[in-house]
């Protein structure tokens, strides 16, 4: 079994990839994808810490389930917003979507 640090570094690298995507992408859909990668990295950390440091404790898994729930809700609402944005503004460039009022 690899030591805990391996999983933590993997989570950090996955999160950093998502962070890089959020900071560089201008297409809103790609920003959403990058955010999903970051949420996944958080789940990796939850489960790794539970596995190695808190045996017999289901709380890490429960929180991971909540993270997945929020991720699903976020994607649904985020994509609806992006589609409305693309219809109204003919653009989903996050740099140009600076106001919420249509």
């Amino acid at each position: 079994m690899p030591p805990l640090g391996y999983f933590l570094v993997f989570g950090a690298l996955l999160f950093a990839t998502g962070l890089y995507g959020v900071l560089t992408q201008r297409n809103a859909i790609r920003v959403v994808m990058s955010v999903e990668l970051m949420l996944n990295a958080a789940n990796v950390n939850f489960l790794a810490f539970t596995r190695y440091l808190y045996p017999h404790d289901p709380r890490g898994a429960v929180w991971a389930i909540f993270v997945m729930t929020v991720a699903a809700a976020e994607v649904a609402v985020g994509l609806a917003i992006i589609l409305v944005l693309s219809r109204r503004r003919q653009s989903i460039d996050v740099d140009r979507a600076a106001e919420m009022k249509g």
Binding site: M1, P2, P3, Y6, L8, V9, F10, A12, L14, F15, T17, Y20, G21, L23, T24, R26, N27, I29, R30, M33, S34, E36, L37, N40, N43, V44, L47, T50, R51, Y52, L53, Y54, P55, H56, D57, P58, A61, V62, A64, I65, F66, M68, T69, V70, A71, A72, A73, V75, A76, L79, A80, I81, I82, S86, R88, Q90, S91, D93, D95, R96
Partner: protein, 190 residues
């Protein structure tokens, strides 16, 4: 080098490479599919952590639902910019195609560096179950018993016991997200 370590390295390499392709692949549909592959790799990591229920949920929600909805979102849009077939209509003056790339590399790199330094310095021994942070096979597994931390039974008991209220709040959140997405997407149809 044990087998699990090899499996871990392979899974980590696949999901990190796929994640990298998500942010670099020029075709956004391919980026979405790479994202799905990255989620599958992370599900494998969950299996390695003996969280088989979470791995199943990961496949169902992330690979099954989230990847699908993003791909549908791309396909259903008739704006060429969404599909990245066309460059942005109006480029902001003075901005390259990838604005602020050095800043992003710096931020991501500094994040990883800070976390690694933090992980190295934290005294894990102050946490409960000290000593499970070892390289020994099966570290942290209770002696003479099956691993219980991720069993569906315990998770279910926690979800409907200690975490009953947050679970209900999460269901309300899902309902609100469903209605919100419907209202947002349907408004324009008139």
């Amino acid at each position: 080098m044990t087998t699990t370590l090899l499996v871990f390295l392979a899974l980590a390499a696949v999901s990190l490479f796929a994640a990298w392709r998500v942010v670099t692949d020029p075709q956004i549909m391919h980026a979405g599919l790479w994202m799905g592959l990255s989620f599958v790799g992370v599900a494998g990591i969950f299996l390695l952590l003996t969280a088989e229920f979470l791995a199943g949920v990961q496949i169902l929600i992330y690979v099954g639902a989230i990847t699908t909805i993003i791909l549908f979102g791309i396909m259903l849009s008739d704006i060429g910019e969404v599909k990245e077939e066309e460059p942005p209509l109006l480029s902001l003056p003075g901005r390259a195609k990838r604005p602020g790339t050095p800043v992003a590399v710096l931020a991501a790199g500094a994040f990883v560096l800070a976390l690694i330094l933090l992980y190295r310095d934290v005294a894990w021994t102050s946490l409960p179950a000290a000593g499970t942070l070892s390289t020994a096979p099966g570290a942290g597994t209770p002696a003479g018993g099956l691993w219980e931390g991720f069993s569906v039974k315990l998770i279910g008991q926690a979800l409907f016991g200690e975490y009953a209220l947050p679970a209900e709040a999460a269901s309300v959140l899902l309902l609100a997200a469903l209605l919100g997405a419907l209202v947002l997407a349907a408004r324009e149809e008139g």
